[in-house]
Amino acid sequence: MNVHEFQAKQLFGQFGVPVPRGKEITSPEAGAAWAAELNTPVFVVKAQIHAGGRGKAGGVKITKDKAAVPGLVKELIGKTLITHQTGPKGREVRRLLVEEGAAIAKELYVSILVDRDSGWPVFIASTEGGMEIEVVAAHTPEKIIREAIDPAVGFQAYNGRNIAFALGLPAMEAAVVTPFIQMLGNLYRLFMDKNAAMVEINPLVVTSDKKLIALDGKVSFDDNALFRHADVQQMRDLHEEDPLEIEAGENNLNYIKLDGNIGCMVNGAGLAMATMDVIKLAGSEPANFLDVGGGATKETVAAGFRILLKDPNVKGIFINIFGGIVRCERIAQGVIDAAKEVKINVPLVVRLQGTNADEGRKLLAESSLKLEVANDLWEAAQKIVKLTGKAA
């Protein structure tokens, strides 16, 4: 789960990571009141969407004039920002962060995540703050510093010294070394205590009066650990998520919308990905990823149909079930029952294999449903691609 920058900064504040004074603003009036209270030489007005590249897309405004703040708020609220992370449709801005500006002397990069290979949390740091870290890693990998933290004992001061010296911080700004190391320890605590998946500060700035400030902040959380954190759950912003994906989640389905026109419904995540791949190999593009899970029932199949058919791009549906514990004749009955409830107006190919596949295929063949039945994965993929080719 992702959260907004203003929420990430609230968490930073709670854990003793210094941030600019700022507030979430949703109206010009509130903007005016907060600007008066903030009373700072430079005001920064930042669009809050769950995507990077806001600055380049015109989502960040800076002014020295307190009176200009409400106008900037009015300009940004309701605006659609298109960045390299939002896709071509962009994202509507519904809330802003209005905060004090900083006199930047130096920009750094710091993040923390779990290294999958070792299973240890690792800090990534760089002197190239304010840039996209992937670009830095690709062009100047020597400027990326990694420091793994032993989860048995947690962050130690030497971890902090390793990072600080590797960054050249003592030579650059001796005054900030101690607070920097403390801040890293606080970030580690935030990461572990809140079950974050990633914490990133880019840039972490050293100001001209030698203070450290997290000028931007990004935190994402491990969905599997949200049950432990009611406060984090409350930060969820449904406006930032696809409505079909929200509906799928409510039905315990794992759905991700894509751009193609063949809707697919599969049991198991790996097989669902493989099914998408086979659709592409057969010459078309998948409209989605949809894993109905190991315990697929009539109800989940019906919910799956409803979600697939709400996507206007879907020109055909491919159901691929490998019955293990799930019995194919139950899935077949689920398809038949669901088809009575939901009007299916696109071609449908059902591939059943595994437990009781013969019985399942027989049920489908004997039903009055207009569908094609297949035994083999490749045969099924070619069938649906051919059928949708005609439909398009």
């Binding site: 999958r116 290979d117 299973g119 048995a152 079950n195 998946a197 790996g270 493989a274 659709i279 990823f289």
Partner: protein, 290 residues
């Protein structure tokens, strides 16, 4: 021969009185696995299909001499269950549970480091040695005794591959699901090393997916240490970056972990990589010169 588990393996099922635990313990036993004990705290004295239930893994070890644990404990309590098994002296822990917080697994992995215990999973279908022991949730009947070792990050996609191998008459030795989580126990390299040494296994199928660099590490290992033919499929060539494709570990982040990159590394290591998952079985046949 086979790897990891066989007809002598003695299994304790943690979480045996739950819906999943009782169903699958029964299925495993019906396949012929020696399921000799179950654990659910506070339910000692009960039985599940004739399998005695104990309060702790320690009690189960004492009374039933288990060497392997199969875990169905719900995610919030699962790290605790894995550590309990390790502490009681279980040598092989197979964890089926999906949805364990990553940071819990970080701590578990660290705690197991350097100890004489192997963890398979979590979020995996388990391990099966055909006609000897099924320790997991895979459908037993699709397997056929044979010559191919299978290792995979996925569940149903593994069944797909196994089905092809069985239908073509090649059959399997042991199939190991290493799980779809970002932090897990046993990895591809561990299992590849075991298959390379197993005299019954003549070829290996490795099923990977997007995310992380386990497949790249496996490629390096295969290049240096594996003489047997390896066939591989990597799921997720059509997956968009930055989205978790069901499995917690299946995500392309920062441009890393794409299917194309993985396929390239594996091909460079001499692995026969198939782009179409329907061709896994045929590719093994060709690799074996049959």
């Amino acid at each position: 021969m086979s790897i990891l588990v066989n007809k002598n393996t003695r299994v304790v099922v943690q979480g045996i009185t739950g819906k999943e635990g009782s169903f699958h313990a029964t299925q495993c036993k019906a396949y012929g696995t020696q399921v000799v004990a179950g654990v659910t705290p506070g339910k000692a004295g009960q039985e599940v299909e004739g399998i005695p239930v104990f309060n702790t893994v320690r009690d189960a070890m004492k009374k039933a001499q288990c060497d392997t644990s199969l875990i169905f404990v719900p995610p919030p309590f699962c790290a605790d269950a894995i550590l309990e098994a390790a502490d009681a002296g279980v040598k092989l822990i197979i964890c089926i549970t999906e949805g364990i917080p990553v940071n819990d697994m970080v701590k578990v992995k660290r705690a197991l480091y350097g100890r004489d215990v192997r963890l398979v999973g979590p979020n995996c279908p388990g391990v099966i040695t055909v006609d000897e022991a099924k320790i997991g949730i895979m459908p037993g009947f699709i397997h056929k005794k044979g010559i191919v070792g299978v290792v995979s990050r996925s569940g149903t996609l593994t069944y797909e591959a196994v089905h092809q191998l069985s239908t073509l008459g090649l059959g399997e030795t042991t199939c190991v699901g290493i799980g779809g989580d970002p932090v897990n126990g046993t990895g591809f390299v561990d299992v590849l090393a075991l298959f390379e040494k197993d005299p019954e296994t003549q070829a290996i199928v490795m099923i990977g997916e997007i995310g992380g660099d386990a497949e790249e590490k496996a490629a390096e290992f295969i290049k240096k240490q594996v003489k047997k033919p390896v066939v591989s499929f990597i799921a997720g060539i059509t997956a968009p970056p930055g989205r978790r494709m069901g499995h917690a570990g299946a995500i392309i982040s920062g441009g890393k972990g794409t299917a194309t990159e993985k396929m390239k590394s594996l091909e460079a290591a001499g692995v026969r990589v198939v782009k179409n998952p329907a061709e896994i079985g045929d590719a093994v046949k060709i690799a074996l010169g049959r």
